[in-house]
Symmetry: C2
Subunit: 500 residues, 2 copies
């Protein structure tokens, strides 16, 4: 979009070393293939999954041992070189966008599964291991790793921890933070810390949770111990069609209120249904205004009982059709439609902008109505495909960047959606992180005191602001520029900005 990292607004440190000198230093302990510096080597790293922003870094480093990471970080600290850590680069909020005067520290070579312990139900893995590879390795023991972002084939566990990633199954099984036990991190001083523990709880401040979702701003994750869960005996997907989006939204709350926590509870609206159907031929009802996909998992008896209960709730909530996948093939097909909805919607329009707000579940009907009203106002179509059970919305605004004014209208519309999420008690991000993308909206979500506390925490880990500067937590200057300052009891929340 139209904003970017600005040295002035975002307090980016200035490297005290030239590229040539830094290259020589790094080469003194890294092999040639671990230090990329030519334009053509650097360009694959110029963006992550948010490809609207691109920036080639000064150097890309690909260490393969913890000791090398420690050395790199110590050198960067010594010469005031900003560091952006990167896993698989699938993030959607630009968290791994490089800095021109910084190094891009890729953890791609950290791809070993160190240990799978079926009795303790844990796996100890390096950060570059792909999310799905963990479940693949655990499968032989009847176990799996629950959080399942759409990108799970490609995304890395280190990136999942950095973004506190979610997925379809997070409603029942929690976010990344609920599924990890212990981390090894390298601090900006180059020290190796172990945080969390292999036991149920750990002593001291909860640095494990603090690190999770901190978007590379507090330390470099070099090892992750995850919890594994037993693969459920049975999983059954139901599809319910509605002639009204708000009715579908209300049904979500009704299912939970009936005492059922589905393994997944997803919603798609008309535009998303049609796009997905054209793309994946999932057998979705093309004339419905909305569908819910509800997966129930557990033992055979549990699932049978829940299917009956959910069917009853859905019918009472006004579903015009309720179907259960008749076999594993149909179940996979139902999910294929959902999982391909983003690329499918992408075919409807030259560009789309995917939002990621989260709201209290009971506000779903109200917020969906609000988005529909805004869509009319901004004259931009929206497809909704999202984790309804979590209240985690993913409105996709369709636009054409080549039409004058559409990009600006899209940005304004997106910002309004996030403001609405905040207004109803929700947040500007569910699982994609803030990164570059939503940094201005952080000024809407938090007031000066809260942002100041974030900065203090940041400084407790990274006093010189070298770790992923300009991301996730806006400076008060940026908020002032953005103009979205909180007003508390009629008074501006940033009265002391003159000091800065």
């Amino acid at each position: 979009m139209t904003y970017s990292i600005s040295e002035k607004l975002d307090a980016i440190p200035r490297a005290m070393i030239t590229k040539t000198e830094l290259l020589a230093q790094m080469r003194s302990f890294l092999t040639a293939d671990a230090v990329l510096h030519e334009a053509e080597e650097l360009s694959p790293y110029e963006c992550d999954g948010l490809s609207a922003y691109r920036q080639v870094p000064m150097l890309v480093l690909l260490p393969s041992t913890i000791e090398q990471v420690q050395k790199i970080v110590k050198l960067c600290r010594q010469y005031s070189v900003p560091i952006v850590a990167r896993g698989a680069g699938t993030g959607l909020s630009g968290g791994a966008l490089p800095l021109q005067q910084g190094v891009l520290l890729s953890l791609a070579k950290f791809k070993s599964i160190l240990n799978v312990d079926p009795l303790a139900r844990t796996a100890r893995v390096q950060p570059g291991v792909r999310n799905l590879a963990i479940s693949d390795a655990a499968k032989i023991h009847g176990l799996y790793y629950a959080p399942d972002p759409s990108s799970q084939i490609a995304c890395s566990i280190g990136g999942n921890v950095a973004e506190n990633s979610g997925g379809v199954h997070c409603l029942k099984y929690g976010l990344t933070v609920h599924n990890i036990l212990e981390l090894k991190i390298v601090t900006i001083d180059g020290e190796l810390l172990t945080i969390g523990s292999q036991a149920y709880d750990s002593a001291g401040f909860d640095l494990l949770a603090l690190m999770t979702g901190s978007e590379g701003m507090l330390g470099i994750i070099v090892e992750v111990t995850v919890r594994l869960l037993a693969v459920p005996e049975r999983a059954q997907v139901m599809l319910a069609a509605f002639d009204d989006v708000e009715k579908a939204g209300a049904a979500v709350g009704d299912i939970i209120a009936a005492g059922v926590i589905p393994g997944g509870l997803e919603m798609m609206d008309r535009l998303a249904i049609q796009a997905a159907e054209d793309f994946a031929h999932a057998g979705y009802p093309r004339d419905a205004e909305a569908i819910l996909l509800c997966e129930l998992d557990g033992t055979n008896e549990e699932v049978s009982e829940q299917v009956m209960k959910v069917r009853e709730v859905l019918e009472q909530s006004g579903a015009i059709e309720v179907r259960s996948a008749k076999d594993e093939i149909e179940r996979a097909l139902f999910w294929k439609g959902r999982k391909s909805a983003f690329p499918a919607v992408g075919r409807l329009s030259p560009d789309y902008y995917c939002m990621d707000g989260t709201i209290p579940r009971k506000k779903l009907p109200e917020v969906l109505r609000g988005i529909a009203d805004m869509s009319a106002h901004y004259e931009l179509p929206v497809a909704n495909v999202f984790h309804a059970g979590d209240g985690n919305l993913h409105p996709l605004i369709l636009y054409d960047a080549n039409k004058p004014g559409e990009l600006e209208r899209t940005e304004a519309f997106g910002a309004k959606i996030l403001e609405l999420c905040v207004e109803v008690g929700g947040t500007i991000t569910g699982e994609h992180g803030v990164g570059m993308e939503k940094i201005n909206q952080m000024c809407t979500q938090f007031d000066e005191n809260e942002l100041t506390q974030f900065h203090a925490v940041k400084a407790a880990f990274d006093p010189d602001g070298l770790l992923n500067p300009g991301k996730a937590v806006p400076t008060l200057h940026r908020c002032a520029e953005f103009g979205a300052m909180h007003v508390h009891a009629g008074e501006l929340a940033f009265p002391e900005l003159d000091r800065f």
Copy 2:
């Protein structure tokens, strides 16, 4: 025990105001009954549930509004007066032990349930609300608050958050941190922050988790929004008796490995069984070496199925007897025995010392054997009563403080138990917190770099160290005195201590 807060070792700030002056300042905005200063008014506050330590504070303050808390904190900051916050004072690790030159800030007047929202399944409450009062208020909606410390009749939700309290049901439903959504806290600057959100996730660093379990060292909790769960349709308790403690320990892992997550899974050994039976007449088998209590909850069908599965596992694990509570009366009786085990054991001996280590579940047989060996070595009997499913041990060491040398032997024994917990990958505390009690053992658990990071986080919230100083996180000086310094690769972990 024999150590205590020391101004030198623990870097306790010195108040820059006399008691008389501070009293006058506090009285200017607090009513007379909210400012206690006479010896007889102060003495009820001289200790919490760890009554071995006692210290009368300079003043006790009982504010009733958030604004009053803000004013108190601002004044204390201005005059460098340390603050110890206190909920119901039931904590077992001395976290609410006052400081002679500090104020004791009681949240006892914050006892309103502000809102119960059955659709969102949340309750917004003041910090002084008793744990059980939340479930009582939610009962009408078929909901309850899951974490259930033994002290739940008396303990406050604010204290639960400060200690990240657990309880019997935490195996299935998580600790306090997994059951809260949003906190309002007053910072040492007197600012009111909202952390977390009413939605499934929140943006920015996870200050909610960081605050939970921070033992009053980062801010004053003035409001808590908790998650509520549906009361299960049915709960069934099974009792299994074993002729060998290690077999019972192994059975715990077997149950979980069979894919069952019980609502509660508790273990008691012979000494605990006999004491509890004499006290509560719960119908426990007096000749067993160990019993497990396993509660299964859910729908009727689910519970029936799980009962069958657990019975099979228990019999295969070598249980000599497996019983199901035949009705609600017997179920309550089984739990009464467990819940009264601590006071029951207290009748066996003039004094006892309750430990709270947590270990990976699979290490239970090994650690129980280790404790038995140490018990023989130190010639002190131990009763084990604990949350076996979580690996959260509560060995009770029985001793007589009047017998020369017994207290010292008890302390040495207790320290060895915690060292063993750390050695097998566990931690020195599960749910009671570090407080005063385990501050020296923190030096065993963490190395200099980790402790330094804790101090940096502390300073990010409380740069002058006024919030509960001397608790939870030891200074490097204390660790040096304690002598339990980590040795990394043959080198002392605190080489730079001379700087301090």
